[in-house]
């Protein structure tokens, strides 16, 4: 995939979200530079991300995603650990939900919206994996990686929500039997419903 094609591919994916000036700015960017200013969300978008995270891991008799700080974790992780393709695919997913009026939907409708998103993401993931395989064989893979399609929004959202929650102090302690120093390795027989260990 050459650079011009890659850019037009991104703009197709994002629909109307990339304006002509943005595309021009991207065109002027050096090939290996990162996006100036990195990744940010508006306060509306932050609310939406928090709502989705809480639907994935809701508060029950144990804390939910919001209580343990998952929304801020997600934003920090996207800023620090992901490149432009994921920044764009994530924002595109957020904007898609914004345009669908997600925050004003009932909880039942929100759940239904996310179920549909999950089903669509399955298909997107197949294409993404093919792309990754091709990249693995390419000499120019660092460049391709930066131009490639980002992981779909739902996949990023779900992975970072689970990672943020199950490795947070409160989420981990509430979900698992935390044993930092097991001291031995041995077979045990699980009782019905017994929690897993975390180390």
């Amino acid at each position: 995939m050459n650079r011009r094609n890659a850019l037009s591919h991104i703009s197709l994916l994002l629909g109307s979200t990339l304006s002509a000036p943005t595309l021009l700015a991207m065109d002027r960017r050096g090939r290996h530079q990162r996006v100036p200013g990195g990744f940010t969300l508006t306060s509306d978008q932050r609310s939406l991300v928090a709502t989705v995270a809480e639907l994935i891991i809701p508060k029950t008799d144990t804390p939910g995603a919001i209580e343990v700080g998952v929304p801020a974790f997600i934003e920090m992780m996207l800023q620090d650990c992901y490149l432009q393709p994921e920044h764009q695919s994530f924002v595109a997913g957020v904007e898609q939900l914004q345009q669908a009026g997600f925050l004003s939907q009932s909880t039942a409708d929100q759940t239904e919206t996310l179920r549909r998103l999950e089903a669509e993401t399955k298909e997107l993931m197949k294409a993404y994996q093919v792309q990754q395989t091709k990249m693995g064989d390419n000499e120019d893979k660092e460049l391709m990686k930066k131009q490639a399609t980002g992981l779909p929004f739902w996949r990023l959202m779900k992975e970072l929500t689970l990672l943020g929650y199950f490795t947070s102090e409160a989420g981990l302690q509430a979900s698992f039997n935390y044993v930092p120093i097991p001291g031995k390795y041995e077979l045990i027989k699980l009782k019905p419903g017994q929690k897993n260990y975390a180390y």
Binding site: I181, P182, Y185, L187
Partner: protein, 572 residues
């Protein structure tokens, strides 16, 4: 290079060891314990055992980016990051900044480095296996590379010696292909692993054993004396072990050498070249550049051990030019830098296991199963490749991470993730790489690093033998999982793997019988400069398929013993 040059009596030692890692540590221990005053020159920063393992006891939530790699680390550690995990927050601080320590890839080479006290011995996989007698004979029988100047029996007592010192947990199996070590008690297998072991024995007559690993399961008095304790089954070894339970140069050899009061370690000091004296035909010392001040200092010694890591050791020889050795010290044969070998990995298979729902292993085992080489062994003859591979892998129950790719979210999904998931099993091969003189590294004629030392250029790649073997590594793993009745079998054969990724890079100053075709003799001495010994992976004439550190350490102890004997007899 002659600016700030200083030399005085305080810079004179009996022996200099370049590098403090897996073999440098052993060289320092052996030489000091035999009465020599030793200087270890370490190019990286000082890491103090236990005190400096700053991430070792951190809880999951105290590691900011968990197991994800920040973009900044990925850029700074562009080579290290090719090996999964090396650039993660919990160990990135111990791995070499590749941007500041660049190298040139004429063809891609995955060079994983850890420039600090103990080197990669702090991060190694700890798998510890003896070579078998046939490994030492294969080159001669097949007409590949050069014949080893030693045989299994030459190394066997030194294997035992090192095994006792480091502490190797494992199960004696009496297999010709994988000679037993001097073992501490083995780590347990899980029920599905025991099932797999029995099934492979019955259906395919292939042995499966618990990994042989340098973690203490039952510390001996000489381990305890160094402050080493039992494995706590945390499986956080690569952060450094506060219990000293796994062997590293930091937990074992360096404390043992320090105890003699005959050891000095110079940190932040790059060995740039060896100084050669035409009159005596000996190397007289090492020229060192300070990492920070760029000051150049010469250190002298009667004998010099090179243990800088195979590639840096070869680079040091190549950069040591004199009228006697215009192409680098000991390089009359033009073999220095050639014959780069490694173990190729990233091919195997995985599957899911039905049943065993009530079984859970408590604790985290820092070890796996081992399936010894079965190809081109006994009655097996492969038509598409020579030599063979061993598998490492095992079974475990999935945890909450399974939720990422599966459908579902909400309260019941959250509850489900708190329980262990199904058992999965997987194996990946470690394949022997053949020596090939065209697989080489050399010094860039123009480009230098900020210390004035020429950059290393890599020009090497897998050959037909390795590529053919990888296909079988994938297919045979899948066949074995299928024979065990496991489900959802998926084979893999990564195409983005290059030489180096096995982190067993070796072969760049090989041992041999003939000075015309090899660099070192049977005691790891440079053929025509007898007071220089090379005992890291550079010395290897072939690679076997088993993890190499034990063999490197045994060669080092043997060479150190010989060196001191020769000094005593005034032959050096």
């Amino acid at each position: 290079m002659n600016l700030n040059l200083t030399t005085d009596k305080t810079h004179r030692y009996d022996a200099i060891v370049v590098g403090s890692g897996m073999t440098g540590g052993i060289a320092a221990k052996e030489l000091t314990q035999k009465g020599l005053r030793v200087l270890v020159i370490e190019r990286g920063r000082e890491v103090k055992h236990i005190d400096d393992y700053d991430t070792a006891m951190k809880a999951p939530w105290e590691i900011q980016h968990r197991d994800k790699v920040p973009v900044r680390s990925a850029e700074e550690l562009w080579a290290n990051n090719r090996f999964v995990g090396m650039a993660q927050d919990d160990k990135a601080g111990f791995m070499t900044n590749d941007q500041q320590n660049p190298y040139v890839e004429k063809r891609p080479f995955d060079w994983i480095r850890a420039y600090h006290t103990g080197g990669k011995s702090m991060h190694w996989g700890r798998q510890t296996y003896r070579w078998n007698p046939a490994d030492f004979e294969a080159n001669a029988k097949e007409g590949i590379g050069v014949d080893w100047p030693i045989r299994y029996t030459d190394l066997a007592p030194w294997y035992t010696y090192i095994e006792k010192f480091v502490g190797v947990s494992g199960q004696a199996e009496q297999l010709a292909v994988l000679p037993d070590s001097h073992f501490l008690p083995p780590m347990p297998m899980s029920p599905p692993e025991r099932f797999f072991r029995e099934t492979m024995k019955q259906k395919l007559n292939r042995p499966v054993t618990i990994g042989r690993v340098a973690n203490l399961t039952q510390p001996q008095p000489w381990h305890t004396a160094l402050g080493r304790a039992s494995c706590q089954f945390r499986n956080k070894c690569s952060r450094g072990c506060p219990y000293g339970a796994y062997y590293s140069s930091l937990s074992g050899a360096i404390p043992a050498a320090r105890a003699t009061n005959r050891l000095d370690i110079l940190h932040d000091s790059i060995a740039a070249e060896l100084i050669y004296d035409d009159k005596t035909g000996r190397a007289t010392g090492v020229r060192v550049v300070n990492q920070h001040t760029l000051a150049v200092t010469d250190y002298s010694a009667r004998i010099i051990f090179l243990n800088a890591g195979s590639m840096n050791t070869a680079a040091l020889l190549l950069n040591s030019r004199s009228s006697r050795f215009p192409n680098g010290l000991g390089n009359d044969s033009d073999q220095v830098g050639r014959n780069i070998m490694d173990h190729h990995l990233g091919a195997g298979a995985n599957a899911t296991i039905e049943g065993f729902e009530e079984d859970l292993m408590y604790g985290q085992r820092p070890n796996a199963l081992y399936i010894p080489r079965f190809r081109n062994w006994g009655s097996d003859r492969q038509t598409t490749y020579l030599r063979g591979f061993g598998y490492q892998g095992g079974a475990s129950r999935s945890d909450w991470k399974r939720g990422v790719a599966m459908d579902g979210f909400g309260a019941s999904f959250k509850q489900q993730m708190t329980q262990p998931g199904a058992w999965t099993i997987g194996f990946g091969g470690f394949g022997e790489v053949l020596p090939n003189p065209n697989n080489r590294m050399y010094l860039d004629p123009v480009k230098k690093d900020k210390w004035g030392v020429p950059l290393i250029v890599f020009d090497a790649a897998f050959g037909e033998n390795e590529i053919a073997m990888r296909k079988d590594m994938m297919n045979s793993a899948a066949e074995m999982l299928d024979a065990a009745g496991f489900k959802n079998i998926t084979g893999n054969n990564r195409q983005d793997v290059h030489l180096g990724l096995g982190i067993h890079e070796m072969g760049t100053a090989r041992m041999g019988k003939d000075p015309k075709t090899s660099v070192l003799n049977k005691f790891n001495q440079v053929h025509d400069c007898k007071n220089v010994f090379v005992t890291d992976g550079a010395a290897m004439a072939s690679s076997s398929c088993v993890n190499p550190s034990l063999t490197y350490m045994a060669l080092t102890a043997r060479a150190a013993n010989y060196a001191v004997d020769q000094l005593t007899k005034k032959n050096l």
